[in-house]
Symmetry: C2
Subunit: 477 residues, 2 copies
């Protein structure tokens, strides 16, 4: 069997290959994990998880040694953090996975269910679109299909020509929208990000010249972000707030009450809300997740003032390679965003537009897709819940589980290393998705597991995790 | 026959629909052009072509009335100019084209030759790529195909993994590269742009927080940009220089001597050169246009220091709807650009990557495509040269012709209006591609004609232009 590293299993990492390795936190019994090299252990890890090694900022600085960004280049690039999967690669670089087990990755959140045929058919039927420059605004038919979907899904009524705009996936849109709404000339501009989070929020804020400020998701409140912890002085400098509902990695869906609080704050302080809803169609309760536009409408804010919802086909329709999504909301922001985008230059190919129309107009494949995820979560969650603190999320395709204290002293990075070394399963340490504030990284001590592989693989991975934890659990006779 | 406006003929304009109309310069004999409304004429137009109406800056300000960009949005958006095709739409809004002639557009530079089958085939063969997130860096096979093409075309040897990066078309790349290299924290940062130019250069500079400074193409020197006119104080603030070779709209190709001068200036002042070469494969001389990388290599600069060449498949392979190109050059800049792009989020779809590999690896369709353009230019250029000052360009698919003084007093806007009103042919007034500096817009008095339509249409358009000019030319008996 080939020796496959978790990094090879997560092939779509993108970025700088020259980052120096983090000193990895270690958790091992040398008899059990012969591939782990360093003999150090980490007694204090659970209390101050990021203090032992370099802190994330030191590490980022080391990742961009003087010289590689040439003299006059944009210095904001030097503030970017290493990407989670690059950190994972480095964390696991010295690990030889146990070749006695087939490799299974729960690391990358890449959808792996089959792409519906109707999307492929629509794309191929539009090959003559290769000969035409697409307009940045997209075809009216596509914008109409997006608005129609919003109406069916959220009972909201948006004007397709003024309140909807296609984008080439939500990453592109989150980044470009941030550049559009943030005023780089205002000193001390703040962009609020949930913590843990999808790293693009932070990078988009930094490259827009703003300061990202991280607000922790509160495990005691079902991982709701506690906006009440933000000081008025910070709100006054806040230009943009990212919300992610359903949350990555927590799976938490914002309630109407949370939306109301956020809208009131937006009215008071004037910030824009960017609502990342790209996991909205994969859910596990009777009721579909509440959307930001839907919440606004229910609260009588039918102009969607200062609200932009972003969604994508990648997860809903299993087309991460299509690069298609849309934004919807405040017509004034859409207008400015369209202006920005004419220069930004990310018009959607006519082929992708045709495929997207077919995808948004069909729900049958979405129902099927959701059923596949539900089956996996129904099998895997109770199994894992026997040995670690983990709940069925509201939505999304991640489990956000706490590492039990008896394994690697509860360290997420230690757990990830041990799991790969002994059972050839890759998971993402939660700290890589979080940022330390006030001495605490809310991702530390948790791991994110993407149930994107086929059901048998997911089940097998869960069984191996149970085994790892049980092996490390003292038996009381 | 349907009444079709030039705007309808140029459907891919993208941007703000709310711009107020420019007071159009008028040129008409009311008996001949009944659709022209205003009785004013423009005696002083040839001397100070943009002074009569609002100047472009006033107009841009009017185009973004207070209020439509909401309070805290990026104020740099307010500095963007209206797009040339929006100006054209407004210029021609009150014109009823002569329905006695079929509409022909020489306005938009949109390739219209057939897309090669081999590109479609490669794309369709890669439909399983819809299920995979693409990496921002692109597949090694695509980067290799780009490097191989550079070697065949320019006899340069670049490392595909460090000196080549795929992009989703040259517009996207020009914009993102500018954001990557410009340091927005340096007060007074300057980006140099040729004048006239592709408007993205200006918008990319403005949104990067820099000041675009325009350097005129000199008709007396074959439309070479005269870098000698730039003051040392401007060079000292210059972070990025755009060159466009072959030029849009002039068709001029930079010589080795011009490159040498620019490289020396770059060495002295430290700026980056972004070389837009997207018209390089459509040329009319024996020798193919010199590329920036090729010039660097010939001058012993094989590290391509501070040089980034940008190219695209849109014109070369007639796939404007594919959105595919690449950048190549300085490895340090490529590294920073890749880092920027991981957040920017414009990874190329695996399908597009597969289609692009097929396109870059094939030259037969490029030779055919070039022959089609050559045939059109050989027919059209001598015909027009009988009545107006126009030369066969070095390369590209534009004619850059001077409006004869006897037609509309030599006004480009007047000529465009008259030509549409009387002969239903759309051309782009040169001033919309230029910027006024020192009281002079180097695009004024010229029109850009894209020979992208089929040969019969191009020929017919030329015949109508000849007719318009001859009708306005006094006959000396």
């Amino acid at each position: 069997m080939a020796l496959t590293t978790a990094c090879q299993l997560a092939p779509a990492w993108e970025g700088d290959d020259s980052l120096p390795p983090l000193p990895p936190p270690l958790c091992r019994d040398p008899r059990r994990y012969p591939s782990l090299q360093s003999p150090r252990t980490s007694a204090s890890r659970r209390v101050k998880p990021t203090r032992r090694g370099r802190n994330p900022h030191d590490w980022a600085a080391a990742a961009h040694p003087a010289g590689w960004i040439i003299g006059r280049m944009n210095p904001l690039l030097g503030r970017l953090q290493a990407y989670p999967f690059e950190r994972l690669r480095q964390l696991l670089a010295d690990i030889t996975p146990n070749a006695g087990f087939s490799p299974i990755s729960l690391g990358m959140g890449e959808p792996r269910h089959a792409t519906p045929e109707l999307i492929k058919t629509a794309l191929v039927a539009k090959l003559d679109g290769l000969a035409v420059y697409p307009a940045t605004a997209g075809e009216p038919a596509l914008r109409q299909a997006c608005a129609d979907w919003l109406r069916r899904r959220y009972q909201v009524d948006l004007n397709p020509l003024t309140q909807v705009l296609p984008v080439n996936g939500s990453r592109e849109a989150l980044f470009a929208l941030t550049q559009t709404v943030v005023n780089p000339q205002q000193p001390g501009a703040v962009v609020l990000c949930p913590n843990p989070m999808y790293q693009i929020y932070e990078g988009a804020a930094l490259l827009a010249g703003a300061e990202p400020v991280f607000i922790a998701a509160d495990p005691a409140r079902g991982f709701a972000v506690d906006w009440g912890t933000v000081a008025p002085a910070v709100w006054e400098r806040t230009q943009l707030v990212f919300v992610c509902s359903p949350g990555n990695p927590t799976g938490a869906v914002m309630s109407l009450a949370e939306w109301q609080q956020l809208f009131e704050l937006s009215d008071r302080y004037g910030f824009v809300i960017a609502s990342d809803e790209c996991y909205s169609e994969i859910y596990f309760r009777e009721t579909a997740p509440l959307g930001g536009l839907e919440a606004a409408q229910q609260l009588g804010r039918s102009d969607f003032k200062r609200l932009m919802a972003l969604t994508s086909l990648s997860k809903r329709s299993n087309v991460p390679g299509l690069r298609s999504g849309f934004v919807a909301g405040d017509a004034e922001i859409i207008k400015a965003f369209l202006l920005y985008r004419t220069y930004h230059g990310s018009a959607m190919s006519p082929l992708v537009q045709a495929a997207s129309i077919a995808a948004w107009n069909d729900e049958a494949h979405v129902v099927e897709n959701r059923a596949l995820y539900r089956a996996k979560f129904e099998q895997v969650t109770p199994l894992l819940a026997r040995v670690m603190q983990v709940d069925l999320p509201d939505a999304g395709f991640y489990l956000w589980a706490q590492v039990p204290p008896q394994v690697c002293q509860g360290s997420d990075t230690g757990f990830a290393r041990a799991l790969l070394a002994q059972y050839n399963v890759a998971v993402l340490p939660g700290r890589f998705l979080g940022r330390e504030t006030d001495g605490h990284n809310p991702g530390a001590g948790r791991v994110r597991m993407a149930l994107v592989a086929d059901p048998a693989q997911c089940l097998q991975a869960a069984q191996r995790i149970v085994q790892l934890i049980e092996e490390n659990t003292p038996v009381h006779v």
